[in-house]
């Protein structure tokens, strides 16, 4: 194959933006995508898109596990077994990647999150983190990355109301957010009647409600790349689905249409990269090897290699390529696979006898939120945990197979179940909490010793369970959510149980992070603050894989921000002086 300036592996939220930015800088860019080509005009047309069974249950836009999956165990003493069926999370497999079917929850992390180790230690003293916790600073500060959050928001047309403009608190927004350099590109959503009930309750309790930001357009919007995104109709079918209107920003609607017009850009779908190749010194990437749709192994030379895949594959490709020292949980040494993390969540359901709602109207991340239990907002000295959560009432559009919460004690089936379903579908408000998850010495990713993918290569193995710190955080936040639910004055309410063990079965979130984390110390990170490999300076590993631990907010906006930041680093620094940037 003819050499290119840059090969970008993956066409999701990171790959599309990195490819766009590098092509804008004049590089000849090739994007390799393992999934099939997508034309939203023919692949996702209403009314067929409004099909819960097809997209939420049997979707062919999620990863095809018959070819590749991961293996999973709760702890090192167990034998990991393959994830045979999708459950806890849903990585994508098509042009547009996982972000094509995201829900549109577009929140920034807090400044505190990027320096959590230093800030918590500074405020509460050494020894406040659990002993085996490996949470660490990201190597970047808020002031460095804020402009790139702004840039991502102008690509994805994020809606919201600023709560902190250049340090000045603004009414209507999130007062706890990091200082923003300017307003959101689009106005906030209207508040739903369910959001109103929540807002009144939390205001009474002294918290500050705001309309949560998201990427379902609140008006027709021309983005930074001159692509038009249309106003969202609030018909639901967002998460797990691709929007037929192009009203949800994702790689397909917001970036790829502009990228396809560039002559120095090529997209090759159905090309599954299996290795990053290096020269004899092992310190320079020479390109990648992929398997194409016909099963041929192809070598693609490139001057710069960008890994822009889901957190699992970024980590797995490094392990399969022998780049970076694999993490060893026994000694704590090594970096590739270290600090795998996830996200915590929970719900309190409030059921009303005297009120009905329109739960099917919503989507595009319509929600009313509070951020009063997050980051550095609460005093943790007596609580004894690190991290936090935001709480919200989402109106994502309740689709009827999966969205029918029922009061505790309702039988699982039969006439009483049927009665309860009829009674409650339109009479429930879900107070949802979305929480952080720290990283730990014994939670990590490596290659499985037994199970292989369709190409005969070892699967990635996940060793993961909840730790006491997260259970404590959830227990405390649940108490707060129950207080809020009570203040909404429902007929009855109940809180979900805090899980004792992590299970791969029920859907939780597609917010897997870590494994190739960023940082300022090569002994605890795979990439430097510019997402550049410490070992191979012309290799950049960008995505959720770079998070050293997870904050409370959905990760997509921060992943997109990192893509903007990494691309700018390459354009402004690396291209001028190729070599290690830190």
């Amino acid at each position: 194959m003819k050499p290119v300036d840059a090969v970008v592996v993956g066409s999701g939220v990171v790959g599309s933006i990195m490819a766009m930015e590098l092509a804008n800088a004049g590089l000849k860019v090739l994007c390799l995508e393992r999934g099939r080509m997508i034309d939203p005009q023919t692949d996702f047309v209403a009314p067929d898109t409004h099909d819960e069974l097809k997209y939420d249950r049997h979707s062919d836009i999620f990863q095809n596990l018959s070819r590749e999956t991961i293996t999973f165990r709760n702890n090192m003493g167990q034998t990991a077994l393959p994830m045979r069926e999708l459950g806890s999370f849903k990585p994508g497999e098509m042009v547009g990647g996982t972000a094509a079917h995201w829900g549109g929850n577009a929140r920034r992390f807090l400044p505190h999150d990027f320096e959590i180790r230093s800030k918590v230690t500074e405020r509460y003293g050494k020894g406040f983190f659990p002993e085996d916790c490996t949470a660490q600073d990201w190597g970047v500060t808020w002031d460095e990355i804020e402009p790139y959050y702004d840039m991502f928001e102008c690509i994805y047309g994020v809606h919201g109301k600023a709560g902190n403009l250049n340090g000045e608190i603004q009414p209507g927004g999130n007062p706890h957010e990091g200082p923003r350099s300017r307003e959101y590109p689009n106005p906030p959503t209207h508040r739903t009647p369910q959001g109103e009930v929540f807002a009144n309750a939390v205001s009474e309790l002294g918290y500050v409600p705001f309309q949560g930001p998201g990427a379902g357009m609140t008006q027709d919007y021309q983005n930074l790349y001159k692509v038009m995104l249309l106003e969202c109709n609030r018909g639901g079918f967002c998460s797990s689905h691709v929007c037929s209107q192009g009203a949800k920003a994702n790689p397909l609607s917001a970036v790829l249409p502009a990228l396809y017009k560039k002559e120095n850009f090529e997209l090759r779908p159905l090309c599954n990269v299996i290795k990053v190749n290096t020269d004899s010194t092992g310190k320079q990437a020479t390109g990648v090897t992929y398997i194409d749709a016909r099963g041929r192994e192809v070598e693609q030379p490139a001057s710069i290699v960008v890994l822009a895949t889901y957190c699992f594959n970024n980590t797995r490709l490094l392990l399969l390529s022998g780049i970076g020292r694999p993490y060893d949980p026994q000694t704590g040494r090594g970096v590739v696979g270290r600090n795998y993390s996830y996200q915590t969540g929970g719900r309190v359901h409030a059921f009303f006898d005297d009120r009905e709602f329109n739960p099917f109207i919503g989507g595009g991340m319509v929600n009313t939120s509070i951020d009063d239990f997050n980051g550095d907002v609460i005093d943790r000295s007596k609580l004894g945990f690190v991290g936090g959560a935001y709480v919200n009432v989402p109106n994502s559009g309740a689709s009827p197979i999966k969205s029918k919460p029922l009061p505790h004690g309702t039988p699982r089936w039969g006439a009483e179940w049927k009665k309860a379903v009829a009674q409650n579908y339109r009479r429930v408000i879900s107070v949802s909490l979305h929480g952080s998850c720290m990283s730990y010495r014994d939670r990590y990713l490596d290659l499985d010793p037994t199970y292989k993918d369709a190409n005969g290569l070892p699967l990635l193995r996940m060793t993961f369970d909840w730790h006491e710190n997260e259970r404590k955080m959830l227990a405390w936040t649940y108490e707060k959510c129950v207080e809020i639910a009570k203040a909404m004055k429902p007929a009855r309410y109940h809180a979900h149980a805090i899980p004792t063990k992590y299970s791969i079965v029920p859907y939780q979130s597609t917010h897997n992070v870590g494994g190739a984390v960023m940082g300022s110390d090569p002994s605890t990170s795979v990439v430097n603050k510019y997402l550049q490999s410490w070992d191979v300076p012309n290799l950049f590993v960008v995505g959720g894989s770079a998070f050293p631990q997870n904050a409370a907010q959905g990760p997509t906006e921060t992943i997109g921000m990192l893509a903007c930041w990494a691309a700018d680093g390459i354009k402004e620094n690396y291209l001028r002086k190729p070599g290690p940037m830190a």
Partner: protein, 219 residues
Amino acid sequence: MAESELLNAYGYLTQPEVRFLDAAVERLIPTDDLGPGAKDAGVTCFIDRQLCSSWGSHGRMYRSGPWLEGTPEQGFQSRLTPQEIYRIGIQEINADCRGKYERPFDQLQPERRDEVLKALEKGEVELPSLSSKLFFDLLWRNTEEGFFADPLYGGNRGKAGWKLVGFPGVPSGAYKEHLGNPELYRAEPVSILDIRMKQAQADAQGFAKHIMLKQDGGK
């Protein structure tokens, strides 16, 4: 061929299996004052079509060994496909019922069928080839899916599941005007099948044109 002529044609299930499933799903979601149950809503037909699809043979699932039992947290580890779980499960449950009650499941009284279903749900029925809980969980999952999925898959006939809860199906293009409005939105549900069969209209963007119902729930 008209959809109605295909309603009782089965691609995978045998007639004894159809009788078993009709008798089971009628107990899981019974027909009562609130409206049709799962049997009348065509859930058996839905399950048959699911079993004929690639899902029925776990076409997109990881299917390499070694096959170990694992922990509940590690999820589905059976080497049986849904087609096999239904075929073998129904055969073995009927054999168990014949042993205990001298007749197959579908010929038991409704209360007895409930007892059997509860025992399956708890994993208390010892079947030779699979866990009875595995069978029940799959049956219940498919029953719920078939009762609430778009009728184009053979279940949710007459949009019985959607009418039960007040879900209008394919969204209307007017939803955004209703987002902040506390007024209750009640409409005759519209399915993808309705639009494809030209029994309901869609606008140029593919959103349904809803016919509104009166606030008391009547037309």
